[in-house]
């Protein structure tokens, strides 16, 4: 049973716990009786792994509870990670830029209209800020709002374009399928 009871996660805006991307200097947890071990550069950890060490270390990474736009549903019961976009709070922008976002004039920022989303602040989904999170890191309270299928298609298209995913073969296949379906229907009158 879905513990949220509110349908799909994909397309909804919800609270979740989101860590920042780890960056040096890394702070490694070293037990309760000791200060964290500080590692200034990634190469120190990578070199140790390349020498054959397979030790798993606990990184102390800052994180925040924040609303996100969830893009996908968990693929399987044993693989419960989803992808989401972080949000930009419009109050942080100058008025002109705020207006540009509201008018959807920047394709990398998808405006979430305040009359449809119960967010603490007017926000926009950042197409360039893709995050991966575990389903259990998402709050159990109802969604703050939801994009419709058409809006999700727009976000999906922007993601594909921004991340440079090569969808040529997919496009070709879909064009062929459409053509075959059209042909099967026979000549249009």
């Amino acid at each position: 049973m879905n513990r949220r009871g509110a349908g799909r996660l994909a397309g909804s805006v919800r609270w979740a716990v989101i860590p920042f991307a780890p960056a040096p200097p890394f702070r490694l947890y070293a037990g309760t009786g000791s200060e964290p071990v500080v590692v200034p550069a990634a190469d120190t950890v990578i070199d140790a792994a390349r020498r054959g060490g397979d030790a798993e270390l606990s990184y102390i990474v800052p994180g925040k509870a924040r609303p996100v736009l969830i893009l996908s549903d968990p693929p399987a019961s044993h693989h419960r990670e989803v992808t989401a976009l972080r949000l930009l709070r419009l109050s942080k922008l100058v008025p002109d830029d705020r207006q540009r976002v509201r008018a959807q004039q920047d394709e990398l920022l998808f405006h979430l209209a305040p009359d449809r989303f119960e967010l603490p602040e007017e926000s926009a989904a950042m197409v360039t800020a893709l995050v991966r999170l575990h389903e259990d890191a998402i709050g159990t309270t109802p969604a703050l709002g939801r994009l419709d299928d058409g809006e999700m298609r727009i976000v999906g298209e922007r993601l594909i374009r921004f991340y440079g995913l090569d969808i040529r073969l997919l496009l070709e296949r879909q064009i062929r399928e459409l053509a075959a379906r059209h042909e099967a229907r026979g000549p249009s009158r």
Partner: protein, 89 residues
């Protein structure tokens, strides 16, 4: 990619528009002859598809600013008492 050859160097039959002439050898397709009009139409489609599939937006000033505003972690609360109070534990 296409390569041009003078038609006097090989015997190539004429093909009407909309027809592809497939040459086989030992039941395997070896070459296909098309009418130039069909070939250019397919080349143009291929070019359009390439453009559709590789059209990447530039990272705008505004999107960059959004990252500058939202990506930087602030000062983490690391005092155990303060954390407990904050979370109501």
């Amino acid at each position: 990619m296409s390569e041009q050859r003078d038609s006097s160097t090989a015997r190539v039959p004429s093909v009407p528009v909309g027809t592809a002439l497939v040459f086989t050898r030992y039941d395997e397709e070896k070459a296909v002859v098309l009418h130039p009009q069909d070939f250019h139409r397919l080349s143009a489609l291929d070019h359009d598809l390439e453009e559709l599939a590789s059209d990447r937006p530039v990272l705008s000033e505004l999107a960059l600013e959004a990252h500058a505003l939202e990506d930087r972690p602030g000062t983490s609360v690391e005092d155990p008492e303060e954390i407990r109070t904050l979370l109501g534990l």
